[in-house]
Symmetry: C2
Subunit: 241 residues, 2 copies
């Protein structure tokens, strides 16, 4: 199995609590995907000074995984099922030459990208839609709701930065590889290889209608919002202003 943030966290927590720990993560972070605002929840009977849990975790976690804060929450809270919206950010290094210092944190696309057609295409997927065309593995479950490929995108922005293109997508939830399929398709639009008819791709309800899947290393789970107003959003360092 690939190394994942959840597995790395579970190992550290199991060590601190001296018992097996399973965490529930708010959003998908497939192997290679970064997170600046992931949220996880867990249940434990362990006695631990939880106000010092973040510090203790950061002392035992590897350098490429860190915790911003930890808190005791009410029973029944789930980082995943209590979340109302997730925000992913995708960083594209949009420049002719590749750049060593961003190579692990942005997808290098050497051909010029036209932002306006990308924005027009992105606008077509905002709202409630069946995102089956942008889903690699269909969701499973007993209920129709669990198997549904309908999601709502609340906001989709594309913003040029110095040498970078910053894409931000906020949605009710994301299907398997949905964010990366959307980004991969938009890059086809920006480079002129695809017409930009995302409404047509949605209507096809067929994975082969969409563009390729953008690589994992440009993607960040940037924030998760809950009904009580809590939002874990943090800008990825490479895109800081």
């Amino acid at each position: 199995m690939d190394r994942t943030v959840a597995a790395v966290l579970e190992k550290a927590l199991s060590r601190l609590f001296d018992e097996p720990v399973k965490v529930t993560a708010a959003g998908r972070t497939d192997s290679g995907v970064h997170a600046s605002g992931q949220v996880v929840s867990l249940a434990t009977g362990a006695a631990f000074p939880f106000d010092r849990l973040a510090l203790a975790l950061n002392a035992v976690l590897p350098a490429d995984c860190s915790v911003r804060e930890a808190a005791v929450v009410e029973a029944g809270f789930s980082a995943r099922f209590s979340a109302s919206r997730r925000t992913y950010i995708y960083a594209i290094a949009s420049r002719p030459q590749r750049d060593a210092l961003t190579s692990r944190y942005a997808w290098h696309v050497p051909e010029p990208l036209e932002v306006n057609p990308m924005r027009a295409a992105a606008a077509q997927v905002v709202g409630e839609h069946d995102f089956r065309s942008f889903c690699s593995v269909l969701p499973v479950g007993r209920s129709n709701e669990a198997r549904s490929t309908v999601r709502s995108i609340y906001r989709f922005t594309i913003e040029p930065r110095v040498g970078l293109l910053r894409l931000e997508i906020t949605a009710s939830g994301f299907l398997h590889r949905m964010a990366r399929s959307l980004v991969g398709t938009l890059v086809e639009v920006g480079s002129g290889r695809c017409s930009g008819d995302l409404a047509g791709i949605l209507a096809a309800a067929d994975r082969s209608a969409a563009g390729p899947i953008a690589p994992a290393h440009g993607l960040y789970l940037a924030g998760v919002r809950y009904d009580d107003g809590y939002d874990s959003f943090a800008e990825p360092p490479i895109l800081c202003r």
Copy 2:
């Protein structure tokens, strides 16, 4: 020997030119130090379409080393000896908890740092001084000039960013570990462990008078300026605005 940017470049150039190549680098980048604006020069008799050298190098260099541009220059030009000033930037992750996404690109300092005493201390080293106290290994050479530990700092700024402190030093040249010794000493000042009498440390002309050497992974050779006005300056991605 430690892996260095110069050695990695020489290997790639030797492969492209099919002859042994030695490069002259404008500024020190010890093992672990980053560079966003390094300049190197080399002499070769090889026939090569030099207008495509940057592209060819980026195709054969490892992911953590890339070339922005390459140009044919007049005989006698030396990236090192023709340079008139160098700029180093140091990134400090100034926050209680460490952060995974910046761990390889900034020095994590958990204790709070007071910026104003750091600025007052930095101001004392601006100008022409004997920087022997901030030098790990004294320069060698036949002439008094080559062995001189006198350098001129033209500009030294300290600027807070979100969760980061950005230090920028422009000087005629830097002695061995001079930039990191200055930063390490300023962190002692900012945390209140050192008085901030940098004039006194300069006057001592003794390495043991200065503070510790800041770690390599927060330092960037950001730019080199030449008398003809060319400046290779590029902001490190972690500090982009």
